[in-house]
């Protein structure tokens, strides 16, 4: 019967190909949307782990999370160095990591921090950062690269890089006179860390030494042997990651920081903020999912319509099956098989279309939108969607199948 169904489809290949194209495209949309959703969610929740409180200047918690952890957008304000010292001096604080953001190198963000970052920062399933080569920074002019930065720009340990003030890879002012030396490269994490250049807080200050009122002044620009480099003291930072001795103290400390008298600060629980951010993105994704399912439904209805309208031209063919001894159920199965075969082919083609699409745009997505998408979708949701689509094709093919069935009963097959 399989042979018959496939030959039958082939004999009507014009309309079959069009229906197949429509099914393939809608299947690719469904798989693609689900794939991006699953990938985004997993890379999203992996970004930061084990941080009890995230502190920044007064802002919304989503904004703070975006600019500090995801390195999207900019801080509106900074934290004074003194406030940082006050906060980490409080009892119950187990560790802290300062973040200073705002500079870049060829489009990659530069993060000023201290060596606690390498010890305490966690991502994914409570995993530590690991150096794939070299060592941590130990001087103001040392830099440690995320794996993607090193890969994309072809840097190895010992390379010299120049950091520009401000963000973007076409900054007009480059500090050619103050190169940083790459001392280490981190192992891949699948988080924004991969796209970050890490320097010490003093390094950040060094970049800004040559500036006065936001304008580079040549006379003030430091040379690598400038004695001022040894005495640099940070004055401001962008955010603080805090780990506490006991999680129960989180809410007390959060309240205290939010009411910090010297300057307006915000302390957030990263998990709560992640949840809130995910809800915002999740709404959009749910919408996309609904649309993709509707597109698929429309194509499935097209499949049903195509099979139904083919019955008219197949009247004699179907009658002939009965005349040579086919049961009416043969006709039901034949039509069902045709619908199912088309959906199955469309599911495979749709999947391959997605693989091809993400395979070709993977590098571009990663560089431009910081989206790390695997080319081969394999999440459970995708297999469920495929199974659902096949089931739906079986159900919708029942309409033409039963029309054919009822016509094949009690029809004078000999009187064409």
């Amino acid at each position: 019967m399989f042979e018959v169904a496939l030959s039958s489809l082939w004999s009507r290949r014009g309309s079959v190909m069009l229906t197949l194209a429509s099914l393939t495209i809608s299947m690719a949309i469904v798989i693609g949307v689900e794939h991006v959703r699953a990938q985004a969610e997993s890379s999203f929740v992996r970004t930061v782990s084990g941080v009890d409180l995230l502190v920044g200047a007064r802002t919304s918690q989503v904004n703070l999370l975006l600019y500090s952890v995801f390195r999207i957008g900019n801080a509106t304000n900074n934290i004074q160095w003194q406030s940082y010292q006050d906060i980490i001096a409080r009892p119950g604080i187990s560790w802290s990591i300062p973040f200073s953001l705002g500079d870049s190198h060829r489009g990659y963000r530069v993060l000023g921090t201290n060596n606690d970052y390498f010890e305490y920062f966690r991502y994914g399933d409570n995993e530590n950062l690991r150096l794939s080569s070299g060592e941590e920074f130990s001087s103001p002019l040392h830099a440690v690269l995320g794996s993607e930065v090193a890969n994309a720009l072809g840097y190895e340990v010992g390379a010299e890089i120049v950091i520009s003030h401000g963000i973007g890879n076409t900054s007009f002012v480059n500090h050619d006179n103050l190169p940083f030396t790459v001392t280490g490269i981190l192992a891949p994490t699948g988080t924004p860390v991969d796209r970050t250049i890490h320097v010490s807080l003093q390094g950040i200050e060094a970049i800004h030494l040559g500036y006065q009122d936001g304008v580079q002044v040549a006379a003030l620009s430091p040379q690598p042997d400038d004695p001022r480099l040894a005495q640099l003291e940070p004055t401001q930072i962008t955010a603080i990651l805090l780990g506490l001795d006991t999680p129960l103290a989180v809410f007390g400390l959060q309240r205290a920081i939010n009411n910090y008298p010297s300057e307006p600060l915000t302390a957030i629980l990263p998990a709560v903020a992640l949840g809130e951010l995910w809800q915002i993105i999740g709404t959009l994704e749910n919408l996309l999912q609904v649309i993709s399912i509707l597109v698929l439904t429309a194509s499935l209805l097209g499949l049903s319509t195509m099979l139904l309208s083919s019955l008219r031209e197949r009247r004699r063919e179907l009658a002939l099956y009965r005349a040579i001894g086919a049961r009416p159920s043969f006709i039901v199965w034949l039509i069902e098989l045709e619908g199912l075969a088309m959906m199955a082919v469309a599911a495979v083609f749709g999947y391959l279309l997605v693989v091809l699409g993400f395979g070709l745009t993977q590098a571009w997505l990663s560089e431009t939108y910081a989206l790390v998408i695997e080319a081969w979708p394999s999440s459970l949701g995708i297999w469920l969607y495929m199974a659902g689509a096949l089931l739906a094709s079986v159900l919708l093919s029942l309409i033409p199948a039963f029309v054919a069935y009822s016509r094949s009963l009690g029809h004078s097959l000999l009187s064409h």
Partner: protein, 229 residues
């Protein structure tokens, strides 16, 4: 045992006001060849559909090979048709997108037969119909009408049925081809010994058959009264 035995068959199409058939008595012996003459629209096709069990006949009116086909379930009736009755139509005898071989295999499939035996029988039948065995690999819609009608005979005989029903099988053929077709049909019948009911309006072929019957003689419903759906 008769191949076909009709007693008091009344048939009215669902929704029709007047009956199409009222046949008090009609018998076909095993191995008999019958020419059934009737104008188109006289109820010939309806009668053949009832004999084939495609239309459901009333109980105790149609016996095929001593089986009251109304007593069979729909499922068994389809199987019975596949095993015991071969049908040849006026045209559209073959599934156009399948090859000749696939058409023959499909017909065999409905009796549960497959494999080498079917292939051998296909070659044998095609050769005895004076067709080249290479034709088995050709799609049915690439054949000429004459070739298609001959393959239809092979298809009808593939399961070695006891009864062949032919409904105007020659009306699409020219005069020479008609004679040739009927001769082939009857020569294969002789080697298998089955009964043939050959329905046609074309009297010129009647002399080739053992028995000649006019539908108007066995059907008490007059042709002008027939409502044909």
């Amino acid at each position: 045992m008769n191949a076909i035995s009709i007693t008091n068959l009344h048939y009215t199409w669902p929704g029709a006001e007047r009956p199409t058939l009222d046949v008090p008595d009609f018998q076909v012996a095993c191995g008999e060849s019958v020419f059934l003459r009737g104008a188109s629209g006289s109820g010939k096709s309806t009668l053949l559909s009832l004999l084939a069990g495609i239309l459901a006949a009333p109980a105790d009116s149609v016996r095929i090979l001593d089986t009251d086909i109304a007593s069979l379930t729909a499922r068994k009736r389809d199987r019975f048709r596949a095993e015991h009755i071969g049908i040849v139509f006026q045209q559209f005898n073959l599934i156009p997108f399948l090859t000749v071989g696939q058409n023959l295999k499909l017909a065999a499939r409905f009796t549960g037969k497959s494999g080498q035996a079917v292939e051998n029988r296909s070659v044998e039948l095609v050769e005895s119909l004076q067709l080249h065995p290479d034709l088995l690999q050709r799609p049915a819609d690439q054949l000429s009408v004459g070739q298609q009608q001959r393959v239809a005979i092979a298809r009808a005989f593939i399961n070695s049925p006891e009864i062949i029903l032919a409904d105007e099988p020659t009306s699409a053929l020219d005069a020479d081809a008609k004679d040739h077709f009927v001769r082939l049909l009857l020569s294969i019948r002789e080697s298998t010994g089955c009964a043939v009911v050959f329905a046609s309006h074309d009297n010129s072929l009647a002399d080739m058959f053992e028995t000649k019957v006019a539908l108007a003689d066995i059907n008490k419903v007059k042709p002008q009264e027939v409502t044909h759906v």
